[in-house]
Point group: C2
């Protein structure tokens, strides 16, 4: 367990961004300003490019790792540098170290208030994969749409089921979500209609960031997998359930998931999460050898989802769950992903799949929380929700806490905008249905 | 119809690379040498970076479009530039134009024999999508694995079914294919085993290259879709059928398809393909408005697959088919891909799906050609094939021909290597099965 570090920066008791955390993000002072790497500490952002310029963070005198529009270059520099920078920052921010503490001019240049800067997508994401690793979620979905007695398909307990997502539609917290349109098949119609989705949903997930690339044809052994993981973010894998239900056979979800996958702006490192390691659920049957892991391979991360109606001033917590319920570990996901030879790249994002817990208030999607609208939620202002309505804001939060140490993820928050009107012909107008 | 252009470069009668073609690729003189843009003409490569240096191909005096390791920068410069460069090249290569013809020194600097240079992956591929748009292929697969009476799933005739592939595993012709390993479920076993695939297959496809990007939330209207397409390549979407069959429910193919997707090195432009436009098959039911297209929206492209056994000096043609059989057009695929708001990026690759024709020798995969090994092929040296064996080479070719004009794709050719041995424990050794 790391020691209780104190900083000269004021950090509120419930801040996600303590000295034990130091997550990396990309910020600019103005929306279109120069993007560079920052670290969140308390309510502030520490500008690593400024530290680099002043010679306080030089990894290599010829390379600028932090005056960059994404984290990829720093991540690609390797695990030894990740450790070195973390140690340097913990030292520079320490209450005992005068270097930054007593240099008023540099502090003015290097610290910004988080609520005054723009936070950007922290990564250039070459590949986005989404897994399906919560047994509770897969069981709930299988029960609703297939057969309650055989809710889990036979392959589910043998391998971490996953699919390729669309990297281009990964966005950062804060960006609005335009309600998507597409083909929907209503139960009593012969043919699908073109419509805005009536079943817009969130999926509460985390994602890990690949920190070390591989070559095609070079699987990652399970014992090496953790060395390939840089850190984690919160992920809202926005979904249109009615589009999904019609399109997904036999090749999987497509348009239902490619209109937006939103992540939190701060990448929390695996080093920061280390104190919160726990053993994952017992796996029965025991996985095949290449997936077998006998170490603490999960993390105790509290997760929640809040929804705010446009008619309300306050948010409602509608889900509380924990990452530790996930059946397949991130190492197992990464090893399985590469076992047939697929290569990974620095910045690849690998989603956990919806994180649902064992109780009804711990389900990570409205599909499950409202049991496909059969049990609508009642918000604190009396409104009901089956799926999301225009103007709704969805906020996901996550944090770890143990022995007085707190490491948090901040949040991923997006608001739903009304569907776009298309350039319609009269004929199209007639066939177009809104929510 | 374009005029019959003649060049001072010698072009064989059956060359794929005529004055009407002028496809773009990336080459280097040595395997690790400087990569730049070249155009195939006869048996030669014309170095566009050299022309640019000599002021013969300047689109913008401050930007080097052709001294680049991929085509992306040139493609991103826009359709007007694609047209301008094509016209300039047709003029510079013409038998009547002395500029290049009579400049011996420049000709020595700018022309290379294709068989002496290294051809590279021509694109940086941000996203790879694969469709499933051959009715014959979808019907064959549905007949074999589901229900012959309801071979096509209900959504198939309403939308171009597709899924996100893995962009990182897109490779260029020539690279060897390591037989992948993974989980396979044998019919009489309770649990899957870990094994090298016993059902290694090819899929004969073409792919189009996105030439114009869009923003998230901005669908491409069907009438604008063609403006977003730069050109086409041949694609061998390597597949492991046994891995696929076990893993693909409910989220689609994953490891069965992410070990290699190989493309031909030359990108044939849509302008070069223009004379070979034909109307695609009648679509019944008529697609929803957003997919409705009343123009010639397909291409008459002869396609073939050859296999060469390591025990044979010659290749056997095992499939001959045509792109014109494809049910869904490229414009329909692209429009559908973006209809819910998904953005596309320059260099995105969109595969057609396996191209099967109506006759048994026109099926685009061994799965169909051998009807899942029940009708093995006999090669000309007497060997039989159900699926591919180690050492087999698969060569796909494609060309258009009309009124004496020929425009060809060259080939995508890869050889199968034996599965890798893993670092096994004794226990693993016992469970590992080879082909």
């Amino acid at each position: 367990m790391a020691q209780n570090l104190s900083s000269f920066v004021e950090i509120q008791a419930l801040s996600d961004f303590t000295m034990h955390n130091l997550p990396y993000g990309i910020f600019s002072e103005t929306p279109d300003g120069n993007k560079r790497v920052g670290v969140a500490i308390g309510d502030l952002v520490l500008d690593l490019a400024a530290l680099e310029t002043h010679g306080l963070l030089q990894l290599n005198e010829n390379i600028r790792y932090f005056d960059q529009p994404t984290l990829n270059k720093f991540i690609d520099s390797g695990k030894a540098n990740w450790q070195k920078v973390r140690q340097t920052l913990q030292s520079l921010l320490s209450a005992d170290n005068p270097t930054l503490r007593d240099n008023t001019e540099l502090r003015q240049q290097a610290f910004f208030k988080q609520n005054t800067v723009t936070l950007h997508l922290p990564l250039q994401v070459p590949g986005y994969t989404d897994f399906y690793s919560s047994k509770e979620h897969a069981t709930n979905v299988g029960t609703m749409f297939r057969d309650p007695k055989n809710a889990l398909l036979p392959n589910w307990s043998e391998l971490p089921v996953g699919y390729n997502g669309r990297a281009s539609s990964v966005i950062v917290s804060g960006k609005d979500i335009i309600r998507p349109s597409g083909q929907i098949k209503l139960p009593n119609e012969d043919r699908p209609i073109f419509s805005a989705t009536r079943k817009l949903d969130f999926e509460l997930e985390t994602a890990f960031v690949v920190g070390k690339a591989t070559e095609l044809g070079q699987p990652i052994a399970i014992e090496d997998a953790w060395d390939h993981i840089f850190g984690m973010v919160l992920l809202n894998d926005w979904s249109a359930r009615d589009i999904q239900q019609w399109e997904y056979v036999p090749l999987g979800p497509f348009n239902a998931k490619t209109f937006a996958s939103a992540i939190s702006p701060w990448v929390v490192t695996m080093e920061a999460l280390e104190p919160f390691k726990v053993k994952g659920p017992t796996q029965e049957p025991k996985p095949l050898c290449y997936l077998e892991e006998n170490v603490a391979n999960s993390y105790d991360i509290h997760l929640s989802v809040e929804v705010q109606s446009p008619k309300s001033q306050q948010t409602d917590v509608i889900c509380e769950t924990n990452f530790k319920y996930m059946y397949w570990s991130m190492a197992q996901q990464l090893t399985h992903h590469t076992i047939a030879g697929c290569n990974v790249q620095v910045g690849d994002l690998m989603g956990s799949g919806t994180i649902s817990g064992p109780t009804e208030n711990s389900y990570g999607s409205l599909l499950e929380l409202t049991w496909n609208t059969t049990k609508p939620l009642t918000l604190s202002n009396g409104e009901k929700r089956g799926f999301l309505e225009d103007g709704d804001r969805v906020i996901m939060k996550g944090y770890c806490e143990k022995n007085g140490i707190r490491v948090g993820f901040g949040e991923v928050s997006n608001k739903v905008l009304a569907a776009k009107s298309f350039r319609f012909t009269e004929k199209e107008e007639a066939s177009y249905e809104t929510v």
